[in-house]
Symmetry: C3
Subunit: 308 residues, 3 copies
């Protein structure tokens, strides 16, 4: 069975549209690297610290991953009200289940900076040709896709692929690209594993001098995550770049895979994890990186839990 990215990127709110289980599915996903104008601080201010910023401090041109309808019909709409949106940073959340084949059709539409790009996927299985990482003398076309060119990555979600994983540019322009936000996440359910009611993508990264969550800095700009008491919520956390972060949610705890309760966890470059709980704490809470300097430079957001 094949499905288009259309269903994949609609995010948690529409997950009910997807079949509950599947076997030997092949998912087809269309994702391009496209130049966009990005504003790290759309409202121009740090609501806690009081600092204001001008647009020349916060707006810049960059290249992001954007999902398209089947066969590059048209870019999917920006679903800014959803967590797993198509706004650009991070790129579209790719949902799959253990056992799925995934074909990612990639096109480099970077006609502005004219840099090569690629996609390298963590957590999944693939042949070297789909690795997407530039190795002088060894790697093939999928590791160095020139502007105007395309490549299809063939991935498999094996038994050890359950979890959440980063994907990112690993071409010769990797370092500039990652600083500019050219990354996204895979969310792979275990075989038969229940979907959460709410799934929140939290991509922590230093971008344009700010400390961002999903490419935005400071309360009022970073995503507002929303859930209701009784819902199962899942947080998909990762970071890329040079920095280590500690992910913290107020008023909540979760239990580690080893049985240890925690409410703060270290995440280093290209690490990723998901945590789940059944929501029972109504209120307006903070989630943030607990590195003081990162929090002060914007890596903080709101989590709003309403009563049932």
């Amino acid at each position: 069975m094949r499905r288009s990215i259309f269903a994949c990127v609609l995010g948690a709110a529409l997950l009910g549209l997807l079949p509950a289980t599947g076997s030997a599915r092949t998912l087809d996903v269309w994702i391009a690297a496209v130049p966009v104008t990005w504003d790290v601080v759309p409202n121009g201010r740090d609501a806690i610290g009081g600092t204001t910023f001008t647009k020349d401090q916060t707006v810049f041109r960059t290249v992001v991953y954007r999902a398209y309808t089947r066969n590059w019909g048209r870019p999917l709409p920006n679903l800014a009200h959803l967590v797993a949106d198509n706004d650009g940073i991070p790129g579209p959340l790719i949902h799959a289940e253990v056992g799925d084949q995934i074909r990612v059709h990639f096109k480099n539409l970077d006609t502005e900076f004219k840099r090569p790009h690629s996609m390298h996927f963590h957590g999944v299985t693939y042949a070297p040709g789909s690795d997407g990482a530039f190795i002088p003398g060894f790697s093939g076309p999928g590791a160095n896709v020139k502007p105007g060119h395309a490549f299809t990555y063939r991935l498999f979600a094996g038994p050890q692929s359950a979890g959440v994983w980063p994907y990112h540019d690993h071409s010769p322009s990797m370092h500039e690209s990652i600083e500019g936000g050219l990354f996204g996440m895979l969310s792979i359910r275990g075989k038969g594993e229940q979907r959460p009611d709410r799934e929140f993508v939290v991509a922590l990264a230093s971008i344009h001098g700010f400390e961002t969550i999903n490419g935005r800095a400071f309360l009022g700009n970073t995503p507002i995550m929303r859930a209701k008491v009784g819902q199962t919520v899942q947080w998909d956390v990762m970071t890329l770049g040079d920095e280590f972060h500690t992910f913290h949610v107020h008023g909540h705890r979760w239990v580690n895979a080893d049985g240890t309760p925690e409410d703060t966890r270290t995440v280093g470059p290209a690490e990723s994890f998901r945590v789940r709980w059944v929501e029972d704490a109504p209120g307006t809470w903070l989630y943030h990186c607990h590195v003081e300097g990162h929090m002060a430079m914007g890596m903080i957001g709101l989590y709003r839990v309403s009563r049932r």
Copy 2:
């Protein structure tokens, strides 16, 4: 049943005074933010590197948490010979057991810097009003306690609260406060869990340009932890601020919750963990952060184990 902070802060040496178990207890704790003079290097020297420091390099005014007797009778004495002391950095160790209600009566006595302060507790359960974190437009009086004002935080140690956890200022002056040492720890035993014979608080933080353990830098200033062969020892480790550390104890190992032996563990901002073992290695040992630059700037102490 209610108990005052008096018993709570006396630390490991006097833990025998506490009832062995309890059910549906409510603990009352009185803690104020108070200005103090703090000396990071009381003996003025780095015993390993040989550098000496003048008092204008090591002494400064700051605000710390200090425990009081019931109803603000008087500040509890500084028990500098104990690990869980009331010297100021870190603030008093709050002991509880899963199932306990904890009421923390907080007063901001910062008449010197005249900054707002608060207490935010990790690991425990509470309503949003007791979160203690400043959120413009949402948070209440407990997140922004002005000098001369008071607030009572109502906490619950639930099943996932077993372990050790940081508490710290999360008011608008959070960043300056944490750099100045306005933090402490909770130590929550599982239901019916045995107390260790010795409990060592290790709060790692960069303070006043030094790398400190419990607010002190270099051998001769940092706490000397003491135990006897046959005793169960517990180390409560946490850090706050901008830095990541690796906690190491010489001549000893412990087993992770996942069964892996280790003698060094990463701890990032607001992370915390406890490790336990039955002491069997007499001698004078080092414990330290294994980040070379931190060790060189003072984050190192002595652990002395005597024969039974």
Copy 3:
């Protein structure tokens, strides 16, 4: 039963020479600290970024650990084609099994810088005299071995010693030494645990301004790890110094001790871990630190898997 270091350092390729199991063995190992000329970038270039370096940027004099035959007969040869070589950075891989006694005969041959040196071993059990860590007023001769002098460290691989561990200088010249590469690893099998077919040492460290794997920077200089489909491979990862890294291998995943699959893991100063898998992915892959700046400064290597 006693064996010399000769067998110990020959590395994974020759492990078949070693007896499969042993009980109450005593291993004798001869290791000296010796001055050497070290070239961080032997081929003078960053194959990915294209930068070239002159020898005055990459070559320096330093002190490393080198293995000798029994009773200091002669230095063991540099087995540069093996992973566990005797080239100097890291020092010789010391293999043992839980239950083994290990005697490390150490000699300080640093006649050039004339600094004291020592060996401090993680993961194993020993009396304070074999700790090798300088503590003013407490430590003995093994913590401060002067040039021309020798010391024997007596270690025991107890039940909690299974795994891989760093060893390093912990004398008064520790900080300069570690920056210069005076460190190595222990690899201790559990009692009766099967040896892997291939064992790869990955010591991550900042050396001479480069980000190195086993003292080398950039593809073409860093070790090329090799395996065949069907072989059990083990990666022994550690770091020393000031930095945190994230170890990543392309095209592969492993399962944590807590059951979580991962392909990237944080390792902080003096932390260490081993991961194993049965090889099933032929190709030429990258392994690297995923901290962008470290990768760009050389912390990246090749892993080549051939068909059976």
